[in-house]
Symmetry: C2
Subunit: 331 residues, 2 copies
Amino acid sequence: MIRVAVDAMGGDRAPEINVDGALLALERFSDLQVILCGPKELLESKLRGRNYDHSRLEIDDAPELVAMDEHPGKIVRTKPNSGVVRSAVLVKQGQADAALSAGNTGAAMAAALFKIGRIAGVERPAIGVPLPIGRKFALLVDAGANADCRPNHLMQFAKMGSIYASQILKVANPKVGLLNIGEEAEKGNELAKETYQLLSSATDLNFIGNIEGRDIPAGTADVIVCDGFVGNIVLKLVEGMWKQFGLILKEQIFTGLGGKFAGLTVKRRIDELKKGLDVSEIGGAALLGVEGVYIISHGSSDAKAIMNAIRVARESVQIGLIEKLKQNITF
Amino acid sequence: MIRVAVDAMGGDRAPEINVDGALLALERFSDLQVILCGPKELLESKLRGRNYDHSRLEIDDAPELVAMDEHPGKIVRTKPNSGVVRSAVLVKQGQADAALSAGNTGAAMAAALFKIGRIAGVERPAIGVPLPIGRKFALLVDAGANADCRPNHLMQFAKMGSIYASQILKVANPKVGLLNIGEEAEKGNELAKETYQLLSSATDLNFIGNIEGRDIPAGTADVIVCDGFVGNIVLKLVEGMWKQFGLILKEQIFTGLGGKFAGLTVKRRIDELKKGLDVSEIGGAALLGVEGVYIISHGSSDAKAIMNAIRVARESVQIGLIEKLKQNITF
């Protein structure tokens, strides 16, 4: 059995989507056990009358609620009985093999950091987000955990990201690119220039050099390394651009009588296209560098996204991700 | 007459597109005079047999050629007779009212900076690029001139950008957003946090606070302020996403017999859509903070893009952009 603790109150449509996602995952994976961390009575009321294997789902009573704008560190200190903190504690205590939250990313990071702790040698755990690039994914790391970084932090992100990409995203010998504003080694800000030197001399990385903004959607790199300030802007910009494309397509193509007619044929293709880019298929972001599996799902996740995040958590445990990180990272 | 000096050898398809663009602009604007800066004989051969008002086009012989990867400072020092340097010198000497290059952006920046000079009080001139956002434009500043910045630099970018947006992009009381990784004042890296405080207390800005990556395509701000490292990544990422979007549309929608049939109807709409997003309509980026009008056009510009860049240069002169910047900037 692989035991995944889910912050049942995380996300815009909690607890419903977490409950629904957990039940979907239980149905799909017979070796899965889910621990829903949240207010017991509320969760029981949501589960009542639902059809699932009761022996593989339990509730960890965590009645304290956190808001999206609460300070992460304060949540960890003052709300030990919130779903986000309990899910991390269960991992630390060995009562769960992995944890998952679709709530406040900062809170999940803080809970994981303070309750589970870091892998020895890792200075700054980072958020690795698989970005949808055409039909594949490229891992963006750091996607927002560390706004100010030093070159050595970025090198650690590169190494952890490379291991994650090969183990979880199944990319052989992942190409690591440093996000910069020019191809040449001497281009960029001070951070990028110094990081370039570190990455160039690393023997355990397939470093392909600097990549530029336009190389992200082109899929030039499998692992995109940058500080969390740049990474978070990139992540949200890519998200916003897809949304804008969708709006434009809808507005431009399916208007007018001719458009509506043609739309009947084209719609099928656009649905296929959307499916290929479905963010709910990504399965969430990983907290890389924490000594335990903790997956973060988007706040706007639906049940399918939660199910996929549980899938990634389960798979991370199955392949022994944390051990692999510990064994293969040399700093 | 408004006299615009054009670096005839700038851009991937120089000198042809510069010559063609200049002739288009001469045809469109009867008050325009163009000075093509480049190898005299080559340009004469390209102009031979063409139909244009000879009294409004002259050649400034600039036989030295620069490569895209040459060091900007070195070009200015060692190639005084290159098109990019000559175009700036003509502005400084009052022989031209504005200059334009589609070549090496760094070289244009260096030429403008060293040959024309900065507006008094401006610490770092920046590149302002109008990003296509739906049917309008948002000015991204700095789009790549300054990789490492201090808070005061960003405040100057905000002020110069705001004036440019209102004067050239015709946005009344432009909304200025600080590109960051969260909405709250305390979010972001050290640079963003300190800049937020400066922008909040500026009385001559319509500062709307922090904006995130997803707010860029949503058009939340008219002026997007960030350092040149982040700005250049954003610029190229947006460019790359549009390109990817085009490829996906082409691949997904216009394949198969049904798709081809539907495509006949849909194609017209996509053409309209593309037109709305046409980068060649933007008319180039501006070097903000230089004491003269210098417009930078994309290296992949076509004749229409050059014509539009000349249009923006002409308009900047017409409205007295430099004087307006001098009068309205308080540092």
